[in-house]
């Protein structure tokens, strides 16, 4: 019974438990409760992934209504992998959150924070598991609305404007998606993805479908912060509480990418998306611009958090680049990149959260000589940074390896060079932090700085550990990603 309802549980558990946090009021209790929920969500996700891994795609009808009328939850390998990423990051972030949130957020609002956090988690998971376009829109809105709140809880006033800007952009994006979904419904009479896909070929050549495609693509592009629609992201990440930055960087944009993949491959089909709509070319250009511009901005950025935010924009570029290759190798490279980047950015933002906790600032010049006082934190940052650069024996190397070999196989060797150039840029911006923290003389105010508490360090190192492990043995991730890519592309071929 439990096993059969796993897809539903995945979403229902956090959804139901979210209001409870608000009732608990006491931050400590709220935290304990959310941690428990996160753990449970992870457990469900692991079981779910295991089932998909062994049995293949799961289709689940909510309330046992049959598909055309009811809502279908559909989880294939790609979905399972995403669920796993989101749940894992959430479970890792939670132990960390207690100290960090206590430090960064007004005492009164902490319970509210955990509520929104769980809602956001719900939304993200829902986006992944659902097989219904309108349902997808709903979950997207849940996650978005809760994340506006989460960001606005940031400790400075600028968090509010950042959240507001994100809200405007997010709403436009959501609206676009809704318009697209609506148009699709108009033409096909169904909201279920698989059904739409089945009925679409009959009406492919209509202008409506094309407009629907354009709206959906642009809408999702805003959500996943594809250049040049990324402008909301740096501010949102910079001014959000550390935990939120880490969680969102690791999950929210990934969910966006997943939505994109769903629409491109499952709904519209790759034939239409890539051949008729020239999405490949446009995406490739945008990805290149994202990678170069964002990396360069990151190079010059003095606020490390903001630097990481821009780096995220560049990394999203990698993911999109993989998709734009429109090949199984490319898509699986993107999936690997999704996973690895979640681990990398999660770890880096968390490490930075430790710095913020002790230092109250994350600008380069305040971090001079920091490594002597916070050796573990900075070591984690360096390890994560190396992974971001793509140094061998780290997860980042694996994703870069696959991305480049996908580009080479597809015959786009300039893309391979581009990826390498941008890892060089990553080297530069990471190295600026390293130089500041390791090779500069600390100021006098530094003397009182202590190492971050273990409750925060352990999650950081857990993620770093995953990074290093994947660097040494990537077989599981790679095979999952390849299956995921097969699942996405395979559906089209049916």
């Amino acid at each position: 019974m439990l096993l059969a309802n796993l897809p539903a549980l995945q979403v229902v558990i956090p959804l139901v438990s979210a209001p409870l946090c608000l009732l608990l009021r006491n931050p400590r209790h709220a935290w304990a409760w959310s941690s428990l929920v996160s753990a449970a969500v992870l457990a469900v996700a692991v079981m779910l992934a295991h089932r998909v891994y062994t049995e293949g795609t799961i289709s689940y009808a909510i309330g046992a209504w049959a598909t055309p009328w009811g809502i279908e939850y559909r989880i294939d390998m790609a979905g399972a992998m995403m669920v796993l990423i989101i749940a894992a990051i959430s479970a890792v972030v939670m132990p960390y959150a207690r100290r960090s949130i206590l430090h960064e957020i007004e005492y009164k609002k902490i319970a509210l924070f955990y509520t929104c956090y769980l809602l956001c988690l719900t939304g993200l998971l829902g986006i992944i598991v659902t097989g219904d376009t309108f349902n997808l829109f709903v979950f997207l809105e849940i996650s978005s609305l809760s994340s506006y709140v989460l960001i606005s809880l940031g400790s400075t006033r600028r968090a509010l404007t950042a959240a507001f800007q994100y809200l405007v952009m997010g709403t436009i994006g959501a609206t676009f998606i809704l318009i697209g979904v609506g148009l699709l419904y108009m033409m096909t009479g169904t909201l279920n993805m698989v059904d739409i896909a089945e009925r679409l070929p009959a009406v492919t050549d209509t202008r409506t479908i094309r407009v629907a495609f354009a709206f959906v693509t642009v809408g999702v592009s805003i959500k996943l912060a594809l250049f040049p629609l990324h402008i909301w992201l740096p501010n949102a990440y910079t001014f959000a509480p550390s935990v939120v930055s880490a969680f969102m960087a690791a999950t929210a944009t990934k969910a966006g990418v997943y939505v994109l993949l769903r629409f491109f491959f499952t709904v519209f089909g790759s034939q239409f998306s890539f051949a008729a709509m020239h999405v490949s070319e446009i995406f490739m250009l945008l990805a290149i611009a994202a990678i170069l511009v964002a990396s360069l901005v990151a190079v010059f950025e003095n606020n490390v958090k903001r630097m990481l935010a821009y780096s995220s924009v560049a990394q999203i570029g990698y993911t999109i680049l993989g998709i734009s290759l429109a090949s199984a190798a490319g898509v699986s490279a993107s999936m690997i990149q999704l996973f690895n980047h979640a681990m990398i950015k999660g770890a880096l933002f968390l490490a930075l959260g430790c710095v913020f906790l002790r230092l109250g600032s994350v600008t380069l010049k305040d971090m001079h000589g920091l490594a002597r006082h916070m050796p573990w934190t900075m070591a984690a940052f360096v390890a994560g940074g190396l992974s971001l650069i793509g140094v061998p024996l780290t997860a980042g190397f694996i994703s870069k390896w696959y991305l480049i070999s996908a580009a080479l196989t597809a015959g786009y060797w300039p893309l391979a060079v581009l990826v390498l150039i941008s890892s060089l840029l990553a080297l530069v911006y990471i190295w600026r932090v390293v130089e500041a923290a390791y090779f500069n003389v600390p100021g006098a105010s530094m003397d009182k700085i202590k190492e971050a508490p273990a409750s925060m360090l352990i999650p950081v190192w857990l993620l770093i550990g995953v990074n290093l492990y994947v660097g040494i043995d990537a077989n599981l991730v790679v095979s999952m990603a390849q299956q995921a890519a097969d699942a996405l592309i395979g559906q089209v071929l049916q």
Binding site: Q165, A214, V218, P228, I231, W232, P234, H278, V279, V297
Partner: protein
């Protein structure tokens, strides 16, 4: 007995030389004088045809390979080491004495080298030791000349090495035997040999470097490098026609440049090239008599040229002056030096009863025997020219001509003894040629003292003398030098390379740590757009973001039409 007999004779000199700096003055004198005699003994106790072989890089080397020619050269090198040591004992620095001994040892090593690798090893050692000899005066001029000397000889050495390797690659054998000049590798070997012989166009190193050495240093230098080259040419390229051309050029080059020269020891340096030219012509002719002549002439030349240089060195040592324009009239206070110098001058001019007479005439005789008309006439003319530039010019300008007013005494005892020894040898070899003739590689069927030969030689030389005195006004010394092929690498190449080197300098400076700064200029441009205040990093107004959304939507919609 075999154990002793198979010691390569050059080795004690080389090893002894390395010990020299650690010795007291007395022991040092003993080594300097005793070791050459030991070497002489070692040479002559070798069982005939002895060969010592060792393995190297998979090749069978023969660092000791006995032959008549080897013994001849080893003998004269050892004698030279002894007399040179004696002459230099009072004024040569310790390192200089060591270097001289290493030169001698290396030259002897070359003489006994049965394979090309051993040859090369000693060849390079000789070049290095000679460089040290040049440097030992520690003047800026000797530094530069020594450096040029070294670079040129390393050039010769690496040509030789390349040739040897080519030869080995082609034949699989490292043996040093006569070669037929039928492969590029052998040409390279020949080129390497000829550079050391002072052949054109790279001959200027000799008058450039040798006169910068100390008095004793130049005596040592004059003996080994060029004569080792003569030895290897004798062994490797007997009868190679091209050598005749090289030799003739050297013969006249030496005369003409010596005539124009003002520095007394540079005059003698040019005359080394001139004399080696005779030997090389002999090697080029290649008959048994010619080869005998070349070998014998090398033997006698080492002795009389050393004598001449000892005489000139004594003058330099006592007066500190080296230019003919500063010298003159020294016969009055340095009679012994003058007499020894004149004996050397007569010997180099092949006057009857001197050593030059019995050796050089073999070469011209063989040219006559082979009916090489042009060669013969040239050699005879050159013989006259030798008397002109070395036989008369050197003693005349140093010891006679005008009175410079200098009245130094004869040099110290050891230097006088050195000169006396070699003066004696010059006369002795000239008067009794038989012992030398017995040492020559081929049986000698030649009688130098025929009436006709003596008379014709006297006629030739004395009328040359007449010409000298008649033309004396035209031979007045001036403070000049004469440009040589070395102009190309001393003046043209540096001047031509200057822009290149300057460009390289600039390039390297630009590329060094400043690069970072240059890159940062580029980054500055990037910074304008990407820096925290740049348009790409600024927080945009919400309106402009929305504008982008619209633009992108438009693009997607347009994309469908293309």
């Amino acid at each position: 007995m075999t154990a002793i007999s198979l010691i390569p004779p050059g080795l004690p000199l080389v090893l002894g030389a390395l010990l020299l700096p650690l010795c007291t003055a007395r022991l040092r004198a003993l080594l300097v004088l005793g070791l050459p005699l030991l070497v002489l003994a070692l040479v002559w106790q070798l069982p005939a045809g002895a060969v010592l072989s060792i393995d190297f890089l998979g090749h069978e080397l023969a660092p000791l390979s006995d032959s008549k020619l080897a013994r001849l050269f080893a003998t004269v090198f050892a004698i030279m080491a002894f007399a040179g040591g004696l002459f230099g004992l009072n004024h040569m620095r310790v390192a200089e004495l060591s270097a001289a001994m290493i030169s001698a040892g290396s030259a002897i090593g070359i003489a006994f080298a049965g394979d090309l690798v051993t040859l090369l090893v000693f060849w390079e050692a000789l070049a290095l030791a000679s460089t040290l000899l040049v440097w030992s005066t520690r003047t800026p001029q000797s530094r530069d000349a020594g450096l040029r000397y070294l670079v040129l000889h390393l050039f010769g050495g690496v040509l030789l090495l390349a040739g040897i390797i080519g030869q080995v690659a082609a034949t699989g054998s490292v043996a040093f035997t006569a070669m037929a000049l039928d492969s590029p590798a052998q040409w390279l070997i020949l080129a390497g040999f000829l550079i050391n012989a002072g052949a054109p166009p790279l001959s200027a190193w000799l008058p450039d470097a040798y006169p910068e050495a100390s008095p004793g240093g130049m005596v040592a230098l004059s003996a080994f490098t060029t004569k080792a080259a003569v030895f290897v040419l004798l062994t490797g390229f007997p009868g190679a026609d091209i050598l005749i051309a090289f030799g003739l050029y050297m013969v006249f080059y030496g005369i003409v440049y010596a005539l124009l020269e003002n520095d007394m020891r540079r005059i003698l340096a040019y005359s080394i090239i001139n004399q080696v030219g005779f030997m090389i012509v002999g090697i080029g002719i290649g008959t048994e008599m010619a080869l005998n002549g070349a070998a014998a002439h090398a033997f006698t030349h080492i002795i009389y040229k050393a004598l001449l240089l000892m005489s000139a060195g004594s003058v330099l040592y006592m007066t500190g002056k080296r230019k003919c324009t500063d010298l003159g009239g020294l016969f009055q206070s340095m009679p012994l030096t003058a007499i020894c110098g004149i004996i050397g001058a007569l010997a180099i001019s092949s006057f009857p009863l001197t050593s030059g007479f019995i050796s050089k005439s073999m070469i011209s005789q063989s040219a006559a025997d082979q009916h090489l008309t042009f060669v013969w006439f040239m050699l005879v003319a050159a013989s006259a020219g030798v008397f002109l530039h070395a036989g008369i010019k050197f003693p005349w300008f140093v010891f006679f001509q005008k009175d410079s007013g200098l009245r130094p005494p004869d040099p110290p005892l050891n230097m006088r003894l050195g000169m006396i020894l070699f003066a004696f040898l010059c006369i002795a070899l000239g008067a009794w040629p038989a012992p030398l003739y017995n040492l020559l590689p081929y049986p000698v069927d030649y009688a130098p003292y025929t009436y006709a030969h003596v008379i014709s030689m006297l006629q030739l030389l004395l009328f040359s003398g007449l010409a000298f005195f008649i033309m004396l006004p035209y031979l007045k010394r001036t403070l000049t030098i004469t440009l040589d092929w070395d102009w190309f690498y001393r003046r043209l190449l540096p001047r031509a390379a200057c822009p290149l080197v300057r460009a390289l300098d600039a390039w390297q400076r630009r590329c060094s740590i400043d690069t970072l700064r240059h890159i940062s200029h580029f980054l500055g441009a990037l910074f304008l757009y990407h820096g925290p205040q740049g348009v790409l990093a600024r927080t945009w107004a919400t309106g402009s973001m929305v504008l982008w959304v619209v633009i992108l939507l438009g693009i997607y919609l347009l994309a469908y039409y293309f």
